[in-house]
Symmetry: C2
């Protein structure tokens, strides 16, 4: 049984699986690609993670995540930049261990307002400044920094970059090694979405396309509000059409943070992910890669 | 003791108070204006509500709320439009019972996606269509329809209008009896906010300015996530400056949906509202009206 040729299982969808189990679940469901996270990679060590990825035959679609660079304090800021430089290196090493077609893409989450701060424009400027410092490292390593706008409900405590247009304003002020993530959960509501996806295509900035669904009521922890495609209100056809029309040809990750999904069996989650992708996302894709 | 001359207590801040108690709490705190809601008005009847307002000496700053016109079904849609026409009439009658400087402003919340629908653009078009049907009635009654963009976390189930720019796109396609609400809670995160407030000023569309604060973690019911100004991360100085610079000279409502606030004594809430407004919002205001 093979899942769609462009599907990638983001490891966060089976968050509690160690890396080798996550790889096994993806392979068992016939999913050809995986989106990695730094924590489970660190658990086994980078060398072992590379060996596992290489032996798996899976593509690597991205590494989550860098970012969190809105700090005011110089020392905290330096530590964050250093950590992002390590993440760039890890991205390069992991992607090169993946099968042909792997993408050296590091997903960046901006970070929220520093404690006690109300200076949103200032925090946003620091995101731009941090990317300016990291761009040469990414470029040298052949890594794309993929800035991810997060839903505005996370603007204060997780990501001061809230719209695709805002992420593109930053990405387009840099060279081709800075791009953006289009994640349906975060951007589906945006009245300017179609125009911004087309813009991202024109400047060739879509570094990652992630899908999951939105549904209400939101759970008490709003970080865990994501659902399988089809279980909510997002129109995957129109957004996927637009991303295709914008020229994105890479893997498409299903990334779900949801306690019920996390509590489910990893193999079952991988299978259900493949099925949901097949019914909701695949019909809008032009063909097998 | 007088509160700020431009402060209005939105009745929702003391939601469980009957109308006469809400008026009493506002007056006791020296608050000169009140934002009314249809439900507590209906409880006492419109004639009695008008008499209470008239005797109070308070201004009326708005009536909440009309809207909820995203239905697909013709019969449901007709019922919604009829109800909005009644709300327009109520707005006119209540504002005329208020003290000089009262505003005949009906706040409109768009409504969410109809059950089972994923057609966000379609729902948004129906909002525009409904306002087109209501505009002549509002104009004839001397009422301003104030379309309120709600935070994107409510886009699926409460309001498909999510940004000030989107609300202005609709308002500006109509005559001067269609405006917008600027509510800090809903728009504070928007990277385009300052530009859109200036735009709203240029087209004279700011019909209401409402303030309350944003803070995380969000409560399990995200409808009740609002706080007193100063208890969260919103920079009221910069937003209020912008609204002032845009030429808005009307009352400023404090509207808080929060279970703890609702559980508190009404008089204490009104006093605390006046204090929070004085420290967070008043400093940005150019002077007493």
């Amino acid at each position: 049984m093979n899942a769609h040729a462009r599907l990638s299982l983001n490891h966060a969808t089976i968050k509690h699986a160690p890396l080798d189990d996550a790889i096994r679940a993806a392979r068992a469901a016939g999913i050809p690609s995986i989106g990695l996270w730094r924590e489970p990679v660190a658990e086994v060590g980078l060398a072992r993670a590379r060996a596992l990825v290489e032996a798996s035959g899976l593509r690597v679609s991205s590494l989550c995540r860098g970012g969190f660079f809105t700090q005011v304090d110089d020392e905290e800021r330096r530590r964050s930049l250093d950590d992002n430089r390590r993440a760039i290196e890890e991205t390069s090493l992991l992607a090169s261990a993946g099968a042909e077609g792997s993408a050296a893409v590091l997903v960046l989450v901006a970070g929220g307002l520093p404690p006690g701060s109300r200076d949103l424009p200032g925090a946003r400027e620091r995101v731009r400044d941090a990317i300016a410092e990291l761009e040469p490292d990414a470029d040298a390593a052949g890594v794309t920094l993929a800035l991810e706008p997060l839903h505005p409900m996370y603007a204060s405590d997780r990501a001061v970059i809230s719209t695709l247009g805002q992420a593109l304003d930053i990405a387009e002020s840099f060279g081709p090694s800075v791009g953006v993530v289009v994640d349906t959960f975060h951007v589906w509501w945006d009245p300017d979405l179609m125009r911004q996806i087309a813009r991202a295509g024109a400047s060739r900035r879509i570094a990652s396309y992630q899908v999951c669904d939105w549904s209400t009521p939101l759970p008490s922890n709003v970080l865990l509000a994501r659902h399988y495609p089809g279980d909510g209100v997002i129109d995957f056809a129109s957004i996927t059409d637009a991303v295709e029309a914008a020229g994105y040809e890479g893997d498409i990750e299903v990334e779900i943070f949801n306690q019920d999904v996390w509590d489910d069996e990893w193999a079952a989650v991988a299978r259900r992910t493949a099925d949901a992708f097949q019914s909701c996302v695949a019909p809008a894709l032009s063909g097998q890669r």
